[in-house]
């Protein structure tokens, strides 16, 4: 199962995209990186809320009117629209006004403001009823948001990008696309008999709290959401980017991280967001499309849940063992 392993990376979507190829040549990895850069640039033209003129910015700016978008944009918008009722509104990208009100109104590279968080002022998400009024017209290649609704597809778009790029490289004997922790791995691992994937410890970023092994030979898609990254200071303490759609405020400090395994990265991304909200509600073990999910709570305990099972394994690892050397 072992082959020559080559890696390369490039910056995109406010993170780093890394491509691992097993049993491929230097030329093939260079070609993949070039393809990845071009796809990522086109992806940001579609889905970035920080790139003026992107399809997403135009759609948000013209809420209430139909806007021409391309087929890939409609594909993702349709998936998102379907996911909102399936997760009972726990996943809801119409939190953009709330996210901006909380201070995340520009990219981290530009430095965030010091917004104040007030429950009374927090804009709520559009919810299931709002999403039911989102129009998708495939024949005209148009989409329309209800007036006043604005959406952020950041995380789920990153997941969909990992799916797209991995599909382009599926002819390789083995490989992995890692878009800032949104992963899709397939085929032969770089060494040994199985892919070994670290699940980052939110209490010790850079170290792993658990390890996932994929066999044989292993293919899987996964994503992680956590509150220890994309944090900023506000007038009332620290805020983070995971907004509760029902309150319009950053989620309370109940779950620190969720990793979800799913048939594709887009589904895993949707599941992590819904599970973060569900964990705050104490509403596990619904998995929201994930095959397997690992929830790390603020008290250090970890819950492992899987699709079709009503059991939750809850345990507290000895974190001292996982500290980086």
């Amino acid at each position: 199962m072992t082959g020559q392993t080559r890696r390369g990376s490039f910056p995109a979507m406010s993170t780093t995209v890394e491509i691992t190829g097993v049993g491929v040549s230097d030329r093939e990895i260079a070609r993949a990186l070039d393809l990845g850069r071009r796809l990522a640039d086109a992806w940001e033209d579609r889905f970035s809320r920080f790139r003026p003129g992107s399809q997403l910015c135009r759609l948000n700016a013209a809420a209430g009117e139909s806007v021409r978008v391309d087929g890939l944009f409609l594909d993702l918008l349709e998936r998102v629209k379907g996911a909102v009722p399936r997760t009972a509104g726990r996943f809801d990208p119409s939190i953009l006004p709330a996210l901006e009100a909380a201070g995340y109104d520009r990219s981290f590279a530009e430095g965030l403001g010091t917004a104040r968080l007030a429950a009374a002022d927090a804009p709520h998400a559009a919810g299931i009823a709002g999403w039911a009024r989102v129009r998708i017209d495939r024949q005209r290649s148009e989409a329309r948001l209800p007036a006043g609704m604005r959406i952020d597809l950041g995380g789920v778009a990153k997941g969909a990008f990992a799916d797209l790029l991995a599909a382009e490289l599926r002819g390789w004997p083995g490989g992995c696309v890692d878009a800032g922790g949104d992963l899709r791995a397939w085929g032969a691992p770089p060494d040994g008999e199985r892919w070994v994937i670290g699940l980052e410890d939110p209490f010790h970023p850079g170290a792993d709290q658990l390890v996932a092994e994929l066999s044989p030979p292993g293919r899987a898609a996964m994503a992680t959401s956590a509150t220890h990254r994309r944090r900023w200071r506000t007038g009332e303490g620290m805020a983070h980017h995971l907004i509760d759609p029902r309150t319009g405020l950053p989620l309370p400090d109940i779950a620190r991280a969720v990793t979800a395994f799913a048939p594709d990265v887009t589904s895993a991304e949707i599941a992590t967001k819904a599970l973060m909200v569900a964990a705050a509600d104490g509403a596990l073990p619904e998995t929201f499309g994930a095959t397997l999910a690992v929830v790390t709570y603020a008290d250090g305990k970890i819950a492992v849940i899987h699709e079709g099972s009503s059991d939750v394994d809850l345990f507290a690892p000895d974190r001292a063992l996982y500290r980086p050397a």
Binding site: T16, A220, A221, D318
Partner: protein
């Protein structure tokens, strides 16, 4: 399920009532006929014995018929109960949570996943809490 049990009880009561409501009342003992001039006591005794035997056979047959009907009905109810879909509970059951301690190299979860990329061979995802995690090939993380 509760409804079924209630129905069963009702039907059993009904069945219990059946012999009481449908069984013919026993005829009141008729006055002994006056002895005919041509009869003899031995003939009358033999006739009474035959009538008694006949009544006993009839009563036995009725009991057997009732027992058969009751047994069949109970068997039918059992068959219905066994083949009926499980009733939905009104409230969701509380989530069973197992508190466990992560031990050395403990496998926390092992889940087979099929259908990825249309592949027929299942991938097994094994979540492990090792003492010394091996260097991972890649790492999933928030970004």
């Amino acid at each position: 399920m509760t409804t079924t049990i209630t129905t069963t009880t009702t039907m059993e009561i009904t069945m219990t009532d059946v012999p009481n409501t449908t069984a013919a009342p026993r005829p009141a003992p008729s006055p002994s006929p006056p002895p005919a001039y041509w009869s003899s006591a031995a003939v009358s005794e033999a006739r009474a014995a035959r009538i008694g035997q006949m009544r006993a056979r009839e009563a036995k047959a009725r009991r057997a018929l009732f027992a058969g009907c009751l047994g069949g009905f109970v068997a039918l109810l059992g068959l219905v109960a066994a083949t009926a879909p499980p009733a939905r509970s009104a409230a969701p059951a509380p989530t069973p949570v197992r508190e466990v301690v992560a031990g050395s190299g403990r496998v926390v979860a092992e889940v087979p996943v099929t259908g990825l990329d249309g592949a027929g061979v299942p991938t097994i995802i094994r979540i492990v809490a090792p003492d010394q995690p091996p260097p991972p090939h890649v790492r999933t993380r928030a970004s």
